[in-house]
Subunit: 451 residues, 2 copies
Amino acid sequence: MARRLVVIGGDAAGMSAAAQARRTSSPDELEIVVLERTSRTSWAACGLPYLVGGLVTNPDSLIARTPDQHRANGLDVRLRHEATFIDVEACTVTGRRLDSGHVFTLPYDELLIGTGASGLTPPWPGIDAEGVLQLRTIDDAVQVEQLLAAGARRAVVVGAGYIGLEVAEGLLARGLAVTVIERADAPMGAVLDADMAGGIADAMRAAGIDLRLGTAVTGFGTTDRRVNSVDTAAGAVPADLVVIGLGVRPNTDLARAAAIGIGPSGGIAVNDRMQTDTPHVWAAGDCVESQHRLTGQPVVIALGTHANKQGRVAGTNITGGAATFGGVLGTAITRFQGVEIARTGLTEREAAAAGLDAIGVSTEASTRAQYFPGAQPMTVKLVVERGSGRLLGAQIVGGEGAGKRIDVLATALWNRMTVAEVAAMDLAYAPPFSPVWDPVLLAAGKAANAL
Amino acid sequence: MARRLVVIGGDAAGMSAAAQARRTSSPDELEIVVLERTSRTSWAACGLPYLVGGLVTNPDSLIARTPDQHRANGLDVRLRHEATFIDVEACTVTGRRLDSGHVFTLPYDELLIGTGASGLTPPWPGIDAEGVLQLRTIDDAVQVEQLLAAGARRAVVVGAGYIGLEVAEGLLARGLAVTVIERADAPMGAVLDADMAGGIADAMRAAGIDLRLGTAVTGFGTTDRRVNSVDTAAGAVPADLVVIGLGVRPNTDLARAAAIGIGPSGGIAVNDRMQTDTPHVWAAGDCVESQHRLTGQPVVIALGTHANKQGRVAGTNITGGAATFGGVLGTAITRFQGVEIARTGLTEREAAAAGLDAIGVSTEASTRAQYFPGAQPMTVKLVVERGSGRLLGAQIVGGEGAGKRIDVLATALWNRMTVAEVAAMDLAYAPPFSPVWDPVLLAAGKAANAL
């Protein structure tokens, strides 16, 4: 009789694990059951702001693989099945069919937890009002669409991080009056050092956003349970539609209730094979904590790339293979209209918090040869360990073509290079692509000189 | 009394060396004399095709620094001064002032040779006809402009390498009928494996270029010393204007005459401090050979990036500092209209020639999330050492955003990573920039599986 793998959660991590396990074991050896609470699988949450903004027009295009496609690949995908309890002694998952209310109990030989993360929602009065939402699922995007159709004109976005910027851009593109409220004194405050954020605030304001920095939300005004304002210490802002973009926290309730170990950063603790501390229980994706390659510390970073890799690693190991997850560097990228924003490794602030003796060196450069049409200014900030000269982190803000250069610096970090080594590298040059000294080389050279 | 550094050649390598030597030594310590044959310094030869094509409109914008700017920085720049002989025993350079014919002899304490490279011009009958030219200097571009003004309508480009593609694109943009004649069976034959070149040939033809592959030029037809056709084994092609783009060879005549050592690849032999085998004589830029980091073999690669780095290394060492040039990977990039073309390391053919047991694995990918507007197809070919799994080289052909990803692979090569290690890296992801699995990760994963 086949053994059974039960996967809780049918998005990136869960479906990557299931698909990889299917590739490496036959249905005779392993039955694979996926329990998914919603009616969709493998959706690209990162694409939602662009669905709202109208750059992406077909919600279905955000579905990497439908439940039926997964089924055709030999996976038993059960939609609107919510897992409610894991019994790690009996090796069973108990759950509920959301449509019928029917309760089920499913024995497992191996279990993968891929429960993802949820948006942070502070206990502000009125946060559950109609018109206040997050952008986590396709249904959320549909809800925005309905509010727009119903005449919403004034949008408030709470939080000026990745999601905040992307949603604000999208709502602006749809013709709404957009206010962004951010508690910190700069946008992208959790992501960039403050000295790198000025250009982003300028770009947001130039685009017509009413950006209110250093402003704390205190609650929401409502009429008949519908939001009509966002209240702040500095007064109320009228709103027909509010999107909360304050980051996420791992969904660990199921794991906690089963006494599966949670790590110090708040995610499910796993080793580099994606095993939890509990026999036959694996976990992957936004619900786990990962090791930061530079600090060695556990961190929670919710990102589809890690979820996919971790799922694949788990799927390989569950079926008797050998794979490890290499850890994270905190690489990330976004854009606000023409301004590309990217980072990897540690910011100057994070390096100091990690007890590292580091300096930050910023360099102004050009995305292309300066005489070439379309050349855009860009700033590269490198964070470097004093003494060793080792690169610790990088931040880029600049025009088209700037952002993805972060990958070169992420690769340098992955290999523990010094900035002098980075400056010597043989990177590609032609006028449409780069100045003779690529911005990465220029920045590394300047940092090496500053040491 | 100050010692004297004489620099032969006022382009990238020479001026980088001179400028660096000036930064690190005072005029009291070191006099720096630059002998430059033309009337310009520090011109960006790589920009010339775009000047011809009209994307760059001001020739002066190609001048990174004028002679007067260099002079203001304390360099004694002597234009239209041609060095004709180096006496390494007496430590003197003899030369000629091209305007007056006046001969001079200049003693040196240290000498830097930065004589660059010249375009290859086979001894074809008629190659010195009016209307047959290369594109090496701003004056060449001016000459093209004059031919266009005089009514040239039919252009033939000989060679489908970097310069050939770039010039063909430029002449096409100016409304000329363009034929490209290439001896090999594929464009970019010296640069890419043949299986990567198909899309480029298609793009050239789709753009309206008459691309003649596998066709050998035999000479040129002329009327009154003006070119009127390019003769090939397969017939004559009418031409008002011919641009030869067959690559370059190092200018080593001066060095050879002075018995300064020439390396096996035909460039001046230097160590990693940019010293020749002759005391007090240094060399840098297109005239030298460099060490390939993967094969350890000397190679001649004419490229502004290397020239700048080597010049800076030489300038540092000449003034008593310590710097080394890290070698080359053969990283390069260009584009033909919307098709970006890049490479680094060894092609499959080059790996075989170097005696390495390698496989090539090609992967189709997308520059952005597939659902995101502007997503373009791209192909990544990785060359991998069998057994070790070590990355040996990479080639990319694809739409906007594809090419510069080569830098990630160049950085991986620089660090001698395996493809499995590359596949694990933390690269930046957001829908406008990348699919969840960046094409680099996807290609590395596929190559790792293929081993």
